[in-house]
């Protein structure tokens, strides 16, 4: 009999790793990331057995859909929930846009998800098993920042895609996005090592510093049946930053 899994991309680090920790006790997971060793470590940290690994570099989206379909057939598995947490972040000024960087950001953050969603919504590949898609977006789609144009554009694209998919795939599949503010993770560990950076981040967030687990909690909720009437939603997880941005900026 085919078994139901939850696919988590970007599973070896950052939010993805935290999502894996949160979900692994109750769900069987397919952990995906580019480095096989790191994936192994993430699986070893799970308290339950039976999780699968799919090592794939999503900065080359060509063939991702077909390869994942082959993986599902080989493992006799299907995907009930998809969490796209893989992401590339980076600063680049408008006057210095480098199209290779643009391609990498969009390939990982958006186009690879499109490839996977195509496979996951095809009856022959996934037997109509899909019930939810949850994508990690960013509050960078709500507030602008210098050097964020490319990254924010990729996340704005994610939001637009989620809305359309929420309509297209209803009522069988719910599609939502989580919009975290800046949280310490693998992507920005360098910046978080500077005390003045941490102090500035703290001042931006009325609820203080966030943790990857805060994002994982939101993902777990959106996937669950408790969110059965929620689709096309952008769930902001930002410690009150958007609510307080005007006053705090004036401090």
């Amino acid at each position: 009999m085919r078994e139901a899994f939850t696919l988590v991309t970007g599973a070896a680090s950052g939010f993805g790793r935290s999502i894996v920790e949160k979900l692994s006790p109750s769900r069987r997971l397919v952990l995906s990331d580019m480095a096989a060793e790191k994936l192994d470590a993430a699986r070893s940290a799970c308290v339950t057995p039976g999780h699968l690994l799919w090592a794939r570099d999503l900065s080359r989206p060509e063939g991702v859909g077909a390869e994942f379909a082959a993986f599902l057939a080989k493992e006799n598995a299907y995907i009930e929930h998809f969490v796209h947490s893989a992401g590339v972040f980076g600063h680049q000024f408008a006057r210095a846009h480098d199209m290779a960087f643009v391609a990498r950001v969009f390939n990982v953050n958006l186009f690879s998800a499109m490839e996977l969603i195509r496979t996951l919504t095809q009856k022959k590949a996934n037997s109509g098993a899909l019930r939810s898609i949850t994508i990690i977006s960013s509050v960078g789609t709500r507030v602008g920042a210098t050097g964020q144009c490319v990254y924010a554009a990729s996340k704005g694209a994610v939001n637009g895609m989620c809305l359309a998919l929420a309509v297209e795939l209803a009522p069988t599949v719910r599609v939502n996005a989580v919009l975290p503010s800046i949280i310490e993770s693998g992507m920005n560990r360098g910046e978080f090592s500077k005390p003045e950076f941490v102090a500035a981040i703290k001042a931006m967030h009325p609820l203080g510093l966030g943790q990857p687990g805060d994002v994982a909690d939101a993902v777990e909720f959106l996937m669950s049946d408790r969110a059965r009437w929620i689709s096309g939603h952008e769930l902001v997880v930002d410690g009150g930053r958007l609510a307080g941005k005007t006053l705090l900026a004036a401090k």
Binding site: G144, A145, V150, A153, G156, G160, A164, E168
Partner: protein, 269 residues
């Protein structure tokens, strides 16, 4: 140095309407794929002799920044306002998304703008002349629809890009986007065959001029304290979610009021 307003997608739809609206008060660079169609638009504009043409297919972005740099340098001109109106749409179901379609639509709607903004924000090329960027986005960045995942993604990307640029390029450059509802243009004509459309537009259908008016405002000094905003021009579509009965009733009422025949435009060569 003479400064110009660059309009992409100028040969049809919103772009043509924006060109005609701005022509009396701006020197224009009209960009589009087809030089004959651009010539046709230039001749419909006021002061045609003042406007330049830049024929370029934006579905291929390779070398775009350099070509624009050369275009400006050889003429010793700068760009003061940039309106990105080039864009295309298309329906594609999630289960059948083709990456070649994705690449093309992202090139035209988003990546070409990134390439164009690069020289426009460089001192060495544009001498700090840029004052505003206005994107034609879509309410598809706000509303979902079947088959619109890819198109909606391009417009969501444009909206997010424009708020980041608004912060990065302030206070010299203002960056805004206009989010039209579906307006009848060459691009959307076939969607108008769907009889259920009208009931969702409290003000009825819009015209390309409605979008051009919004662009003119955002480009002008009257909007000098407006940046990072999404100006929705949609006849009320995004605030209207009628139940089926209401939609049908409103549609028949609006249909009854539509006495004038569709505007006839001069045909393109």
């Amino acid at each position: 140095m003479e400064t110009y307003t660059l309009i992409t997608g100028a040969s049809s739809g919103f772009g043509r309407s924006i060109a005609c609206k701005l022509a009396p008060s701006h020197r224009l660079i009209l960009a589009g794929r087809n030089v004959e169609r651009l010539e046709f638009v230039r001749n419909r504009c006021e002061n045609p002799e003042r406007h330049l043409l830049w024929p370029r297919d934006l579905s291929d972005v390779g070398g775009l920044a350099q070509e624009l740099t050369d275009f400006l340098k050889t003429r010793e001109i700068g760009i003061e306002h940039y309106v990105h109106s080039a864009g295309f749409t298309g329906f594609q179901f999630a289960r059948a998304v083709e990456m070649e379609f994705v690449r093309q639509i992202f090139n035209v709607n988003l990546f070409s703008a990134m390439e164009i903004i690069q020289p426009l924000t460089r001192k060495s090329t544009n001498h700090g002349a840029l004052r505003s960027i206005t994107f034609i986005s879509s309410i598809s960045g706000r509303l979902g629809g079947t088959g619109l995942a890819v198109y909606g993604a391009t417009k969501g990307a444009v909206n997010a890009m424009s708020i980041s640029l608004a912060v990065e390029l302030a206070p010299d450059v203002r960056v805004n986007s206009v989010l039209p509802g579906i307006i009848e243009t060459e691009m959307t004509r076939e969607y108008f065959k769907n009889p259920n459309f009208l009931g969702f537009y409290p003000l009825g259908f819009g015209r390309p001029e409605d979008v051009a008016d919004a662009v003119e405002f955002l480009t002008s000094d009257r909007a000098h304290w407006v940046t990072g905003q999404e100006l929705v021009v949609d006849g009320g579509r995004t605030v209207c979610s009628p139940n089926p009965g209401e939609a049908i009733a409103r549609e028949s009422e609006l249909n009854a009021r539509l006495v004038s025949p569709p505007r006839q435009e001069k045909s393109n060569p």
